[in-house]
């Protein structure tokens, strides 16, 4: 177990340090510059993809909730709390 951990540590160092070095050195060669437009807009669109996916899940859940648990839904039944009359939540 300990040896395995050590192996992973060595591997991680072998991978991480060159990656970080490479990343920090990016754009240092004359004539080859990073395009900030590409970097920033790509980041923006990646985040919007995730945001809209999560948004679709959240709003989909809420729309379904509103549709399924409305009072007039055929399957609507009184909640267990309605019988005791205690849904004020003094818990």
């Amino acid at each position: 177990m300990r040896n395995l951990l050590g192996l992973f540590l060595v591997l991680a160092i072998l991978v991480i340090i060159p990656t970080v070095d490479h990343a920090f050195a990016a754009g240092d060669e004359p004539g080859e510059y990073l395009d900030r437009r590409v970097l920033i807009w790509n980041l923006f669109f990646r985040m919007m993809t995730v945001a809209f996916t999560v948004g679709a899940v959240v709003s989909g859940t809420m729309i379904w909730l509103c549709w399924r648990f409305r009072e007039s839904h055929p399957k609507a039944t009184p909640t267990e709390y309605e019988r005791s009359g205690d849904f004020g939540g003094s818990a």
């Binding site: 923006f44 909730l65 648990f69």
Partner: protein, 508 residues
């Protein structure tokens, strides 16, 4: 509980009363008045931006004054007092005390607001609600700027007094039989937001004084010509006003916690996680202020720290959304006006939060900072979440306050129009910001995309304007002529409430 308006009383008896429901009523009426005044300015701004060039408003100076007063009014004279109105009505009843802890202080806190509001409206300053130095020191014309500073000073003191009152009422005056865990979530929300006010406001109060002495030329705290630093003001300002966002949001969430379980006919899913999330939000609200200042030349490390601080607020906000969804699950939901406003508010709360996460990501600031994206983003919060929660709660407390029912159909039309309008205005403004339109501009070049989106936004704003007129008619007409409400169960939900409506707090 209340029935203030059913029993006719002379106006002066309400005005000079220190009873918590009377003060709450005053807060409510005044905040609704300022909602319409600030909203009218918003419509003026939108009308002016419908076409490029000057149409409605004569010059950019007037335009700048209008958006400054619009922002100041709606934040300090509508959102804060309307939350105080709800707190005044409900907090003493929820902790089962006869009144606020300090009734006279309560009345004083209210009566400081009209002079503060008068100073802001009579001055009509032009340096944005942020009072940006060194512009506010060397360029902003007086006496408008000085009146704004004094007005804000008074409003700040008023909210600190109100916060002290809420904290003492909840912690010290709750019924001895009640443990702090039994205090309802709405009262918890006032406790958390009041604690934020106590910590946050003094910083801005100090900054305002420094701004004033800078304007007088005595000092140079924020004036680079005298060795000062405008960025210092930015830090002081946002140290107060980023937490202030949570001061506004937390009570609105508390109001939804009151409405959603009731109309779902279930108790709240997890009260302890609601309390936990409130307290956590109150704490992390202080870790994110400088995300407003990424573009002022902050170092990479500073930006990283404040980005992490900003993202830290997301799990707590998400817990509230989870709580609402889980409460509605398996419920039997009655879609009356207050419930519709609350659900709409949660939906927009998510959109605003997602936009906020994008803002917090440092490199995206280059595209969004100080554009209409930011305008759309924070309006989704203040209008889409906070005002929606508050307006829903105004409908909810209407029968308890007046003893009469509001007109349900008008309430629903109000909601639907507002919801459509809000989406049209503020979602469009996000996209407009991505096209690069700066905020706070009086005129813009006739770039086709900019023109089209400004026009969509203006149409949306007019829809909101129409819906608000319906709201006003509903409020006035129903409070005088509405059909009497069954005070024990005005919404026909069944079940018992934990605050005793019958045993209203006697006037003393």
């Amino acid at each position: 509980m209340v029935l203030e308006l059913q029993k006719p009383r002379p106006v002066w008896q309400i005005m000079f009363s220190t009873h918590h429901t009377d003060v709450g009523l005053l807060y409510l009426i005044m905040s609704i008045a300022f909602l319409f005044m600030g909203g009218a300015l918003a419509l003026l701004i939108r009308a002016e931006l419908f076409f490029p060039g000057a149409q409605m408003i004569a010059d950019s100076m007037t335009f700048n004054r209008i958006f400054t007063v619009h922002g100041t009014t709606l934040i300090f004279l509508f959102l804060l007092p309307s939350a105080s109105a709800v707190g005044n009505y409900f907090v003493p009843i929820m902790v089962r005390y006869k009144d606020m802890a300090y009734p006279k202080l309560n009345a004083i806190a209210f009566w400081m607001i009209p002079p503060g509001g008068a100073l802001i409206w009579l001055g009509f300053a032009d340096f944005t609600w942020y009072a940006t130095p060194p512009y506010s020191i060397i360029s902003a014309p007086g006496p408008a700027a000085d009146m704004w500073i004094f007005g804000l000073k008074i409003l700040g003191i008023s909210s600190v007094l109100g916060a002290i009152n809420f904290i003492v009422t909840i912690l010290k005056c709750k019924h001895p039989d009640m443990s702090i865990g039994q205090v309802p979530l709405l009262a918890w929300s006032f406790l958390s937001s009041s604690l934020i006010v106590l910590v946050a406001i003094p910083t801005f109060a100090a900054a305002l004084l420094m701004l004033l002495t800078d304007r007088l030329g005595v000092t140079g705290f924020f004036n680079p010509a005298m060795g000062g630093d405008p960025i210092a003001y930015a830090h002081l300002f946002w140290f107060t006003f980023h937490p202030e966002v949570y001061v506004l949001v937390i009570p609105a969430i508390g109001m939804m916690y009151e409405i959603i379980p009731r109309f779902s006919r279930k108790p709240i899913f997890s009260k302890s996680s609601g309390i936990f999330a409130f307290v956590l939000l109150a704490i992390v609200s202080f870790s994110s202020w400088a995300h407003h200042m990424y573009a002022t030349g902050m170092s990479f490390t500073e930006k990283t720290v404040f980005m992490i601080g900003t993202l830290a607020a997301v799990p707590a906000s998400g817990m509230h959304v989870f709580n609402f969804v889980a409460t509605m699950w398996n419920g039997r939901i009655k879609f009356l006006t207050p419930m519709m406003w609350s659900i709409g508010g949660i939906a927009l709360f998510f959109s605003a939060g997602a936009g906020g996460v994008a803002n917090a990501a440092m490199p995206l600031d280059f595209t969004t900072h100080d554009t209409y994206w930011v305008v759309g983003h924070f309006h989704l919060f203040v209008m889409g979440t906070i005002a929606f929660g508050t307006i829903g709660f105004i409908y909810y407390m209407f029968p308890y306050v007046t003893g009469r029912m509001y007109n349900e159909n008008m309430g629903k039309i109000h909601f639907i129009l507002s919801f459509i309008g809000t989406i049209l205005v503020f979602f469009t403004q996000h996209v407009l910001g991505l096209y690069g339109m700066p905020r706070r501009i009086f005129d813009y070049p006739a770039i086709p995309e900019w023109v089209a989106m400004n026009q969509i936004a203006t149409v949306g704003a007019m829809i909101i304007g129409v819906s608000m007129i319906i709201f006003l008619i509903n409020l006035i007409h129903s409070s005088a002529k509405g059909k009497p409400a069954d005070i024990h169960d005005p919404f026909g939900l069944g079940g018992k409430y934990y605050y005793p409506f019958e045993s209203k707090n006697p006037h003393h």
